[in-house]
Amino acid sequence: MMEASLIVRPVIVLLCTLLLLSACGHVEEMRSARQEQATEFNQRAQRAFQRGEYQTAAALYQNALQLDVAIENVNGIAVNTLNLARVSQVMGQPALAQSYLDSLLKDQALHYAPAHLAAAAVQSSLLSLQQDDEAGAGKWVEQAAAYCASDCTLGGVIDNARASIALHANDADTALHWSERGASENRNASPLEYANSLRLAASAKLLKNDADAALHLAEEALAVDKSMGLPEKIRQDLLLAAQAHEKLGHAEQAAQCRDRAGRIAAASVK
């Protein structure tokens, strides 16, 4: 007993010393002042975007991008270029958004992470679809899926993009397939994309004349979008619900939903 304790004690002391040394030996990743400044611009831009101040957000992302380019921070360049494309898209400048995305997708000099390229490709696909270029949208979404191999969190977004393309082509079955797959992937990952999946599924159900199911999906999407406070999404949910009510013969409720959607549009808050 005595001998055992004599052995255990030095072992414990040795372990504690090693633990202490390993803790002290931990080296914090050093970041330059410019990189910290770029991060600060990026964070301020994020907050501006969340408040709907898109012009300010764009200017701040530009500042962050400029600094990242100057110190050749490849991740920062990709992140801020994607963000600028997104802001331009929200501000109704699809051509500018596409030019930002092209600068990433067609860059021969720098090698970006596949996750960033997947994000750029899926955004390109959605932009093409907005301009009724279904072929272009299909090409980019396949490209996005190819980039999104491992460690990629964009699977649900790509599913939703595919469902959107199918809906554009009035292919209700395919749209329903991708939107349901997207919903199951996004349920615990991203409320924004989950609501998107629900909305797409509702539209597919409407195409299939299943207004009752469409109404339920639209109402669920509405609850999610309200919890996130996204006016445009809430408006779209209400319009979908109005369509479902109309198909169900509830003219009064349909009118109410349209009236509510109209009020949100009149508020002009994006």
Binding site: V79, L154, D159, N160, S164, L192, L206, L240
Partner: protein, 316 residues
């Protein structure tokens, strides 16, 4: 295990415990000694007093300074039966010989922002130095708010004067308005007279006397107007003089105040900057320390979420 070995181990443990206890007692004594030094228990001091009508701005522990050096502290602030406030001050013995019985205690603020201190204003060198239980005279120094109050008090009569002058100018029955009216009438009459005089000169010399009469009257009125003007101008000049005097004294006060604070404000700003920088450095250091760095992850550049939804054509 043998009994002798066991006893030996017990003895060793006892010896170690004793050493530990002695060490602990030693450390405790050292700490007590340091506290005593910090609290000035080994410092010889002389107690003096001063009295004030109220204790505003005075507190126990407040620094007492003499020509910019800390020479003691306020030990106690207590109210007396006659509702005055007695302030007990402990002065370091090494400075007592510099402070005469006729020295004054003054409550001042060293900077625009910050704590007040009691400043000892030296008396004459010939007078005997303060002794134990001496009583000093007390006065309150002017702080920023008092200076501003004084300034406001000085500006008030100036504004009053300006108001009086403008109302006097605007008053239709006032001197200035009446003078202007008289002048107006006089020039009207003069113009008429000249006109008549021309007519008279052309037609007849008979009416010349009447014209001269009117001309005389007009000149009289001009004279009376000028007299009134003569009377009112000195009054106006006097008022303007007093106004200018007030403005001058206010300006000198402002100049004094700004020159007094000119040296303090930049230092204050520099100190605040240094303080903020120190705070940032400390926080940075704490964040980087291995015990806490897990709690403060380094911020990263964030990407906005991709919105994978394009409304179908059927939705407006």
């Amino acid at each position: 295990m043998k009994l002798s070995t066991y006893n030996q181990r017990l003895l060793t443990i006892e010896k170690r415990t004793r050493r530990f206890m002695l060490g602990a007692v030693g450390v405790m004594l050292l700490v007590l000694l340091m506290i005593a030094i910090q609290q000035d228990y080994f410092h010889r001091s002389t107690t003096i007093y001063f009295f004030t009508p109220n204790a505003q701005g005075l507190s126990k522990g407040m620094a007492v300074k003499f020509v910019g050096f800390k020479v003691g502290s306020v030990q106690d602030v207590s109210m007396q039966p006659n509702a005055t406030v007695r302030v007990k001050v402990a002065l370091d013995d090494e400075y007592v010989h510099l402070i005469g019985q006729d020295a004054k205690a003054r409550l001042i603020k060293e900077a625009l922002v910050g704590e007040s201190v009691v400043e000892i204003i030296p008396g004459s060198q010939q007078v005997k130095q303060v002794t134990h239980n001496s009583v000093l005279a007390f006065e309150r120094g002017q702080d920023a708010s008092t200076v501003v109050e004084n300034l406001a008090a000085q500006l008030q009569p100036i504004l009053g004067d300006i108001h009086q002058i403008t109302s006097s100018i605007n008053n239709p029955n006032g001197d200035v308005q009446q003078t202007l009216k008289n002048l107006n009438q006089a020039t009207g009459a003069f113009r008429e007279t000249v006109h008549q005089f021309t007519q008279l000169g052309a037609s007849s010399n008979q009416k010349l006397d009447g014209a001269y009469g009117k001309f005389d009257k007009a000149l009289d009125r001009v004279n009376s107007s000028l007299e009134t003007l003569d009377k009112s101008i000195p009054k106006l000049v006097e008022k303007a003089d007093s106004t200018l005097g007030n403005v001058q004294s206010a300006t000198s006060d402002i100049k004094k105040m700004t020159s007094e604070s000119a040296t303090e404000v930049p230092a204050l700003v520099r100190n605040a900057n240094a303080l903020v920088q120190d705070g940032q450095d400390t926080l940075g250091g704490v964040r980087k320390s291995w015990l806490l760095n897990g709690l403060f992850p380094q911020p990263e550049e964030q990407a906005l979420p991709v919105d994978g939804y394009v409304p179908p054509k059927t939705l407006p």
